[in-house]
Symmetry: C2
Subunit: 360 residues, 2 copies
């Protein structure tokens, strides 16, 4: 067995420790005589797994009691519809467009009401976060929507927008648990887990209780109502049980690393290795405005497409996987989520240095 | 490590061989240097996994070319809404009520149009399948809906209803791949995989191409349109990748067992062991009309609630897990899916015999 350095934007690298434990428990989970995959979701053993996962997540993120934690299916993309179907009481919402995922959410929002673009960074290929300190938000907007970390473009909101008292809804798929957050500033925080937390197929929604209501838009499928899942503790129907179990292990791993303060410190140190090199390199350069740089997704280019292709190919041969930029952007992107060890980034930078020398 | 006999109705027992392979591949899938959980769904390695899974399923079920195979999220429960949202062009559909799952689908159908109960076995606690040879189906009904195997009550359609030319939609969650089916008789066959095929979090939809259209009901979320997933080969967004990988292994295991003809033979032999005993036992008896008995879910009772409870408790102590009947029905239920070895059923019957002697 030999492991590569996996810079995939998602699904993405998971802690080796977590995978080892999962492998060990595959045929017999702690004396139950069965795999977690085979376990009734109504069993005592599974009840403990899902409750512990929730408790650990609450502890990690310091989630107040008036927020529910839901483990759902359908990925982040399904939330693009669930959010308006559940929250658009006035059929109006403000969207901040900082990339393709924000745009997809915005377009989905339009199916259900007036989705209003209140800010955008489309003018410069989403390479920055627009100033959101004084936006023109309609009085009766039901929420303000952001994609907090833009996986494709490598930008991150360092300050939350001034919502002028409106509910903030945030897609944190690609920065989930990468640093502490003040949950009280949000109405809804949600993310697909397949970047920083677990295997694809689970989306976690953290939602303030007063936003969970019966009166969804007409025609909302039962499965797309937050209330149904909140009332049933995410067990309205069979949950993505194995994925939740792996998420639970990652939560425990994060606690062992020292929690989100420690992760932030580690992630900053790790990202600095790469950003510092990009800033000093004559060949490689980052594509994002400095103050908006993500700690998780680092896009960069050489300025020469052929050289980009050569770099990605040679990097792969050297054991650095998935460095190709998103198909819509080109260039390179290194996703350096929680589970990417700093050695991976250091070795990547060494490799980039050598490549630069050879190709100067 | 010691494995129990797991009679859970779902999530349920999986082939030990499949679990062993999954454990072995957990940290390094066939030299890729990563777990399937960590793999980009756009990677070559994953492309092979999902394409092979589909090809093997097509071979097993002999699925014609004019049917699409979709690997989706949301469980069977989400299909209760997707079916009307995609198929109810005339806002009218006929439902045959053979249990709680059929009823839930029917109730969800009512959100979107006229869902008409055309037959039911509610009069006798769903212990039989109603005669469906000459139903009163409205001319303009968009489809006829059945739950082909009723997990809770242990009944199974042995003959498909006469739909009088209407599209047949069937929930096969609890009989998926348990025996051959003639796919051409259906418009849609679907099932959550967590009973006979894989871990919870994947639902497989086999749908005739002419039923996949743009014109879903107004307000249908993008993620709930069959067309979106069909056009993108189940990769419109991040799929439940690890679950699909396990399903793929189960498909290969089924092929090795000799395919669905062999499974049918094995399942009949296996169920016969239990049904024959129930028929001869003075203490235990099956609750379902003989000709409608499921090969997968076998409910039975002693006729005495206290004795039922005692039986479930003692069985558990002896390594027979999850024999308690569904909370809405009581009694016992042995789910004996594909992956339950015949030894498990033989040993259960031995245990039942001994229990009967002691408690006569
Ligand atoms: C920020 C963000 N939001 C949403 C999505 C879509 O997630 P899913 O594939 O789970 O629907 C992604 C996927 O990469 C993402 O990066
Ligand atoms: C026949 C049948 N249909 C539907 C369901 C619901 O499935 P899910 O929990 O995946 O929504 C079940 C679950 O037990 C079932 O047995
Ligand atoms: Mg983006
Ligand atoms: Mg530079
Ligand atoms: Mg049923
Ligand atoms: Mg009897």
């Amino acid at each position: 067995m030999s492991r590569v350095y996996n810079f995939s934007a998602g699904p993405a690298v998971l802690p080796e420790e977590v995978l080892k434990e999962a492998a060990d428990e595959m045929l017999d989970y702690r004396g139950t005589g069965m795999s977690v995959m085979e376990m009734s979701h109504r069993s005592k053993a599974y009840d403990t797994i899902i409750k512990e996962a929730e408790a650990d997540l609450r502890e990690l993120m310091n989630i107040p009691d008036n927020y529910k934690v839901l483990f759902l299916q359908g990925g982040a993309s399904q939330q693009f519809a669930m959010i308006p179907m559940n929250l658009m009481k006035n059929r109006k919402a403000a969207y901040i467009l900082t990339g393709q995922w924000a745009k997809k959410a915005y377009q989905e929002g339009k199916i259900y009401g007036e989705a209003i673009e209140v800010a955008s960074s489309a003018d410069k290929m989403f390479s920055y976060i627009p100033d959101c300190s004084d936006l023109d938000i309609p009085e009766d907007a039901d929420y303000v929507y952001i994609c907090e970390n833009n996986t494709i473009y490598g930008t991150k909101f360092k300050t939350l927008p001034n919502t002028k008292g409106h509910t903030l809804v945030s897609d944190v798929s690609s920065c989930f648990l990468s640093e502490p957050v003040d949950v009280t500033k949000y109405g809804v925080i949600y993310g697909g887990v397949q970047k920083n937390v677990g295997p694809a197929g689970v989306v976690i929604v953290i939602i303030r209780e007063d936003l969970i209501t019966e009166d969804c838009l007409p025609g909302t499928p039962t499965m797309l109502k937050y209330k149904i899942h909140a009332d049933e503790g995410s067990l309205y129907n069979t949950p993505p049980a194995y994925g939740i179990y792996i998420c639970g292990k990652v939560f425990k791993w994060l606690k062992k690393q020292g929690g989100l303060d420690a992760m932030k410190e580690y992630n900053e140190k790790k990202a600095k290795v790469l950003y510092d090199f990009l800033d000093e390199s004559k060949l490689f350069k980052g594509t994002v405005r400095k103050e908006d740089r993500s700690l998780m997704n680092v896009p960069f280019v050489t300025g020469n497409e052929e050289l980009d292709t050569k770099f990605v190919k040679e990097a792969k041969e050297a054991g650095f996987e998935n460095l190709k930029g998103h198909r819509s952007v080109g260039g390179m992107r290194a996703s350096i989520y929680n589970a990417m060890p700093i050695e991976g980034v250091e070795k990547l930078v060494e490799f980039m240095k050598a490549f630069e020398e050879k190709n100067a």
